[in-house]
């Protein structure tokens, strides 16, 4: 294939490719926007506890340690 034909084909691909990308993403925008209106709003979960992130076992151990200490006094 000579260079002119190749250049022409690559120009076509440019149009085709950007067209496909824009069509697909625009379609997605439309669908997502519609879906977001249909989907019911989530009830937010209860507020996180202050001990979150610490293993309950550790909390228990600490409580036990402190409790033990109190008793031993």
């Amino acid at each position: 294939m000579d260079i002119d034909a190749l250049l022409m084909q690559s120009l076509q691909l440019l149009g085709l490719g950007m067209g496909a990308v824009f069509i697909i993403l625009t379609l997605l925008i439309v669908i997502i926007s519609i879906v977001s209106k249909i989907v019911p709003v989530e009830v937010s979960p209860p507020p996180a506890l202050p001990t979150q992130g610490i293993d309950p076992a550790h909390v228990a151990a600490i409580s036990a340690a402190v409790h033990q200490y109190r008793k031993n006094r």
Binding site: I3, L14, I24, L25, I31, I32
Partner: protein, 377 residues
């Protein structure tokens, strides 16, 4: 005895090295150096660089059909399995929440793909330079570097131009690592101080159901319009569904940890096996490096210009900087947008706003890959 010593000497690396192999081992070392010292995408460039060294050892044949790298390449790259599994892992690691919160910004991720197709044209035009010879398939494989997305680039290159795979992968990951250097000047040149100062309103909360539906919707749209993009998009969606559906936590965790790690090691080594001197040390590689840079720059510029359009259309509700994140290079490009935004206005946190176009860019380049594979492959 003398003959034995001669035979021994003839089996050393010293005796058998070709200059090209030495240079390629240095290139491998350079990639490793950049990865460790400069933080250039180390997860990929260390395996690729090391694979490149191993592939250029004389006699050992590690990249040959019976060597470890050759076997891995044959099993995972030739078949496309490795990049697709990586894409599944990427899907499992990606939170599409920011994109869903404001879907219109996805258009920025579409615009930035202009870098890919402009570069395709540029690569074909390069044939006018004597010594350069890129077929349409070569040009497409090179252009996909502009997608700023590693597994997509490797997948397309393995299908269209396996000989160029090494150079393409190296260029793709290197430029992704260079995003904080390549993008800011372009961003500053194409936007005004006032534009860069633009604050954006906080994103709405996205419900769990929307997040579950998104990968299915994305897959359906791709199936209907561009089936040739579905291997890539499909695995991305599958990984994301594992993540969001909430009932297969153990599969999601494996997909985004152990499995992607294992495949990353194998993929990197396999790609490195394509850093053979005779393929890499050629004018083509220089062309690839140049075109890759063009692709990144044009993609960034296209995203920014679309950002400027949205800035006007929305009445200054969109900061054009986030358009640059549309090239993907997740999450680096979004961070760069955030940083440049902060420079203009210390109260201006764009990170989450930039994540939307950023992940849209991943989808955009997978779609672009589908077009290239469909027309050329």
């Amino acid at each position: 005895m003398e003959q034995g010593l001669l035979q021994l000497w003839a089996s050393t690396g010293l005796y058998n090295f070709t200059p090209g192999q030495l240079i390629m081992i240095a290139v491998g070392g350079l990639l490793i150096y950049l990865a460790i010292s400069k933080g250039f995408e180390p997860l990929l460039l260390i395996p690729i660089g090391f694979g490149g060294i191993l592939a250029n050892i004389p006699i050992a044949g590690i990249a040959g059909p019976d060597g470890l790298l050759g076997i891995l390449y044959h099993a995972g790259i030739e078949t496309g399995v490795f990049p697709l599994l990586i894409f599944m892992g990427v899907g499992a690691m990606t939170d599409f929440g920011p994109l869903l919160a404001r879907p219109s910004l996805m258009i920025l991720g579409a615009a930035a793909q202009f870098g890919i197709f402009f570069t395709l044209f540029g690569a074909i035009a390069m044939n006018l330079i004597p010594g350069m010879e890129f077929s349409m398939a070569d040009a497409a494989a090179i252009a996909i570097i502009g997608g700023a997305d590693g597994p997509t680039a490797i997948y397309v290159a393995s299908r269209l131009a396996p000989d160029l795979l090494g150079a393409i992968a190296v260029a793709a990951y290197s430029y992704m690592a260079l995003v904080p250097i390549i993008q800011p000047p372009i961003m500053k040149a194409l936007t005004t101080e006032e534009e860069r100062k633009t604050k954006m309103t906080q994103l709405r909360k996205v419900s769990r159901l929307e997040k579950i539906l998104f990968p299915l919707i994305l897959l359906m749209v791709t199936i209907l319009l561009l089936p040739s993009a579905t291997p890539l998009v499909g695995m991305l969606c599958f990984g994301n569904l594992l993540r969001e559906c909430g009932v297969v936590e153990r599969l999601s965790s494996t997909a985004q940890n152990e499995l992607i790690n294992i495949v990353t090691i194998f993929l990197g080594l396999s790609v490195g096996s394509k850093l053979a001197a005779d393929k890499f040390l050629s004018a083509e590689t220089l062309g690839i490096l140049m075109l890759g840079m063009v692709a990144f720059s044009i993609g960034t510029a296209a995203g920014l210009l679309m950002g400027k359009i949205m800035y006007r259309v929305t009445g200054k509700a969109v900061n054009p900087l986030i358009g640059a994140a549309g090239v993907s290079a997740v999450p680096m490009a979004a961070r760069v947008a955030n940083k440049v935004g902060l420079q203009a206005n210390p109260q201006n946190f764009l990170l989450m706003h930039a994540m939307g176009p950023n992940v849209a860019g991943v989808i955009g380049s997978a779609v672009a890959a589908g077009v290239l594979l469909s027309v050329i492959g």
